[in-house]
Symmetry: C2
Subunit: 324 residues, 2 copies
């Protein structure tokens, strides 16, 4: 099965379970960006981010007997919620291994979505050791956040929708800006567009100072970030591009883009004001790139994948002060 | 042409110009409400509220020669923005008569959407006199906010979408909660559901103390509000039910519901947290009713029309403090 066929097969499994997110627009954003801005709000997806697509794709493709034993994931963020809810809706157990200093709200949410949360001490314990012991003991299957073909295929269904929606709107040539951590969403969308909308060029968007993918694309070699914390865009801070995702992104994507924390917060504020959607900082770097990097973008229209909206109220309130 | 045929004709004129808003859900909201909650987020409509539907319906149905002269509306809020943008996209002029003490942001937005804004002094001038003089002089056509059959037909297209979407989701019996000011949205949806989904029962939602429609429905006679200001739900504070809308609503809707300001703010905060959408207070009273009036609602599912999201950042930040 080709990678494109894997994405199309994932789309069939997702049908009726995953939300087809709309395309949102605003003349005010068009004016700032200097071109038409088409926003794909994956914050409106189940559990508030695109991660539910990949989780559903992986779980729905499992052998039913293995699936019965349940799944396990390491994550304190959007992937955790996606896996927990996809597992619950499949009627199976999920175990999420999270650091004990994760925000209580995220722990509570993940539990409320049906997962068993196992906490570990970052300083003294290895989540991999804990997870592997649990997986072996209970026969759980690990769902990786991005270096997993079935997860990439699930995220790629976003690209199938974009290809259809762009065509309906008469957009056949445009950059497609994608928030990028490990690269699962970017790789999936890139593969889908290669097959269904070759005039749409995928491009990764990251926070400045944590732009491992941008530097890796520029050099053609995998580059690492100096740190994986210390930026407001927590959802997309990863040590380096994924092993599976990078070759795909390197082959199919244009140059990477990066924006400042301040620009991410301003994009969140403008999404609030003009689109009436809630974005988290890591889900807004694509919109920020469209609005504040217009000289690095080509064409009369730009497509923006706004990838998630799981943001603390205090951070969101701070973003709203960036409207003046 | 029957009223239902008018709505169906409006839907044809709106096709491709108005956004079909999705249905959003969250297991967290279901738990609070004690039943499935299906949210229709009209805040995601062009200009941030359902008002664009009615404006487009009215303008698109005009005689082309009259339309060339332009349109006029009295409004400081969502109707103003809806009319301005619908007119601009038709390539015609619009004049919006607004009080000189309207928030600068609303004046600026309305102008940016292409309207000519004419300010008047509430204390010494009559907007009707000013509007009528302008209309006569320039041949402008007045677009009323709710007591206008073509506007009601446009808002009713929301009901056609709800009927289709509810059927897809397997919901054939449910209360449909609708934020209600003058009643244009409620009347339009009620007529659409009467024809296309008779098991769905429309019900109006208002702020406590400004519940003229609820009291009118209870008594069967039009009741007035004591005031039209002094509540955070500014978008839906009207003196009394409309002359055209009330008989329709009285014939087709169940009992009215009302919620406190505090409940509207809590619903906004929960919509932020669980659905990732931005609601204004007047656009959240329907969700507040679903969440906090569950004993007054019947059935295993409830449909919530979240009608708008044009809220000042300061008010939204205040709502976010209601999450604890």
């Amino acid at each position: 099965m080709s990678t494109l066929e894997m994405i199309e097969a994932a789309a069939e499994r997702l049908e009726g379970h995953v939300r087809e997110t709309p395309i949102l627009t605003s003349p005010f954003l068009d004016e700032i960006a200097g071109r038409r801005v088409l926003v794909k709000p994956e914050c409106l997806q189940h559990t508030g981010s695109f991660k539910f697509r990949g989780a559903w794709s992986a779980i729905s493709a499992m052998d039913p007997r293995a699936r019965e034993n349940g799944v396990i994931a390491y994550s304190s963020g959007n992937h955790a919620q996606g896996v927990a809810y996809a597992a619950t809706r499949h009627g199976i157990a999920s175990v999420i291994v999270m650091p004990s200093d994760a925000p209580q709200l995220k722990i509570d949410n993940t539990r409320s979505l049906g997962a068993e949360v196992v906490l570990y001490d970052r300083a003294s314990e290895s989540r991999e050791d804990i997870g592997e012991a649990l997986a072996q003991k209970r026969g759980l299957t690990l769902i990786r956040p991005y270096d997993e073909p079935l997860v990439i295929a699930g995220q790629g269904t976003t690209g199938l929708e974009i290809a259809r929606q762009a065509q309906t709107l008469g957009v056949t040539q445009a950059d497609v800006l994608i928030c990028c951590g490990g690269g699962g969403l970017s790789a999936g969308i890139a593969l889908a567009l290669e097959g269904h909308a070759p005039g749409l060029r995928p491009r990764t968007c990251e926070p400045e100072g944590f732009d491992d993918m941008k530097r890796s694309l520029a050099s053609g070699q995998v580059q690492r970030n100096a740190a994986t914390s210390g930026n407001i865009c927590d959802a997309i801070l990863t040590p380096q591009p994924g092993e599976i995702t990078f070759p795909i992104i390197n082959r199919l994507c244009g140059l990477g883009l990066s924006v400042s924390e301040d620009e991410a917060l301003r994009a969140m504020a403008l999404a609030f004001l003009r689109l009436k959607i809630v974005l988290e900082p890591g889900g807004a770097v694509s919109l920020a790139s469209a609005l504040f990097r217009k000289d690095e973008i080509e064409g009369g229209a730009v497509i923006v994948v706004a990838s998630g909206g799981n943001v603390d109220p205090a951070v969101f309130a701070k973003a709203l002060t960036h409207l003046s």
